[in-house]
């Protein structure tokens, strides 16, 4: 299980944001994307999700082009973007059940347990509309726990989270990496993890 990028290029509005970008991510590693706003971090993440075609180059998962793999590749990935991707009119449990059904379900953990792990114990039947911004963000991140995705692709996961929330999420990351998971993340906050496992790429250079 590895993720490899070969010679990627990203063009937006006629500007080349980055080119000749290559990297290799192994289980247990974190790919940390840094750079100014507008340097192409989100575009690169969306390319890793196989939503956006790269302007040049290719990305492979275990040697196969991710755009050719389609749903097979998506079974191995879980994504949390800028927006939470939760329906405000559904309860926390309903949202998470939906997320679980969309991917490769992880039957080792119940929905309620997943909610407890992101510190939403007791909020299972609350309509998401009534949760605070930080709680909604944690709910959005809980979807990472209910599937068996090996690669987590996260765009600014710590948005709206307080120190406690950040701590909870960092615990999730640590557990995931310890279980041979991979994380590709952009973040303005410093990511508090074992520094040897972090592969930093700064797109502003």
């Amino acid at each position: 299980m590895n993720l490899e990028a070969h010679d990627l290029m990203c063009v937006r509005d006629d500007r080349i944001l980055f080119e000749h970008l290559s990297f290799h991510v192994e289980p247990g590693q974190v790919l940390l994307l840094e750079g100014r706003n507008g340097s192409g971090k989100t575009s690169l993440l969306r390319t890793l999700c196989a939503i956006r075609l790269p302007d040049a180059g290719k990305i492979t998962w275990d040697g196969e082009d991710i755009f050719k793999l389609g749903p097979e590749y998506h079974a191995h990935t879980a994504y949390v973007g800028h927006k939470d991707g939760v329906k405000l009119d559904l309860t926390a449990i309903e949202n998470l059940t939906m997320a679980k059904g969309m991917g490769d379900p992880n039957d080792d953990i119940s929905i309620v347990d997943a909610l407890a792990q992101v510190d939403l114990y007791g909020f299972e039947d609350v309509p998401t509309r009534n949760l605070s911004a930080g709680q909604q963000r944690r709910l959005a991140l809980a979807r990472l726990l209910v599937t068996r995705a090996k690669l987590w692709i996260l765009d600014e996961p710590f948005t709206s989270l307080d120190t406690h929330g950040i701590g909870v999420v960092e615990m999730l990351f640590a557990n995931h990496l310890a279980n041979d998971g991979m994380i590709a993340v952009t973040s303005h906050h410093s990511v508090n993890l074992d520094t040897t496992a972090i592969l930093r790429i700064n797109l502003s250079e």
Binding site: K83, V86, G101, G103
Partner: protein, 227 residues
């Protein structure tokens, strides 16, 4: 992913959309009201002579149904696009066309099916015969799903655009013409007491074509719109 879990995903998504619609029940009334209002406006515009209304009634009701369907199309993907859920459909381990079919079916149940329920009332307003009203319901049952499915392609192409709503009508109405022609004419023919098997076969064929091809086209369009 195996077919069992894909069909489970289909059911989950269908139930999700129906639940969401039910929790915003008031929204469901709008296309319905539009349907009735447009139909009711015609006699005001062209005169209320019973023979005239009876002869153009089927056409009016069907055009009103078309416009009501168009009006309600935007809601298929709008809310999911805005809160980020739409992206997750593209990232699902299940084929996007299956998920699209679930969403379109939900959309039809919420916006198309009610039109069938209200149609007899409109038949009353325009003094259509019992045969005509019955045929109207059948053609709506066959035609409105086609409107939802073909319309979904247009919505998928315009969901990311700033003023997508405006060009949606331009994209979708030409594609609606065959349904309008066959359905309105079926009701006309039934009013005259003639058999309509040909019309119904054609409408069913359109439905079959839409069911098989439009989810694929809609999925492709969504992937392009969100890239």
């Amino acid at each position: 992913m195996n077919t069992r879990s894909t069909s489970r995903a289909f059911t989950l998504l269908l139930r999700r959309d129906l639940t969401l619609a039910f929790r915003q029940r008031a929204e469901m009334i709008n296309p319905l009201l539009f349907f009735v209002l447009v139909t009711a406006l015609f006699p005001l515009g062209i005169g209320a002579e019973p023979a005239l209304l009876r002869s153009i009634g089927p056409g009016i009701i069907w055009v009103a149904a078309l416009l009501a369907a168009m009006l309600s199309l935007d809601s298929v993907f709008r809310s999911d696009f805005e809160d980020g859920s739409l992206e997750h459909f593209l990232l699902s381990a299940h084929p996007l066309s299956v998920l699209v079919l679930a969403k379109t079916l939900a959309h039809w149940l919420i916006t198309g099916l009610p039109l069938l329920v209200v149609a007899p009332l409109l038949g009353l307003l325009l003094d259509l015969s019992a045969d005509a009203v019955w045929t109207l319901i059948v053609t709506l049952a066959l035609g409105t799903p086609v409107l939802s499915m073909v319309g979904a392609i247009g919505v998928a192409l315009t969901v990311g655009l700033r003023r997508g709503g405006m060009i949606l009508s331009l994209l979708v109405l030409p594609l609606y013409v065959p349904v309008l022609i066959f359905a309105a004419n079926a009701v006309d023919t039934a009013s005259a007491g003639l058999p309509i098997t040909a019309h119904l076969s054609l409408l069913t064929a359109l439905l079959a074509l839409a069911c098989s091809l439009s989810p694929v086209a809609t999925a492709a369009a969504l992937k392009i719109s969100l890239s």
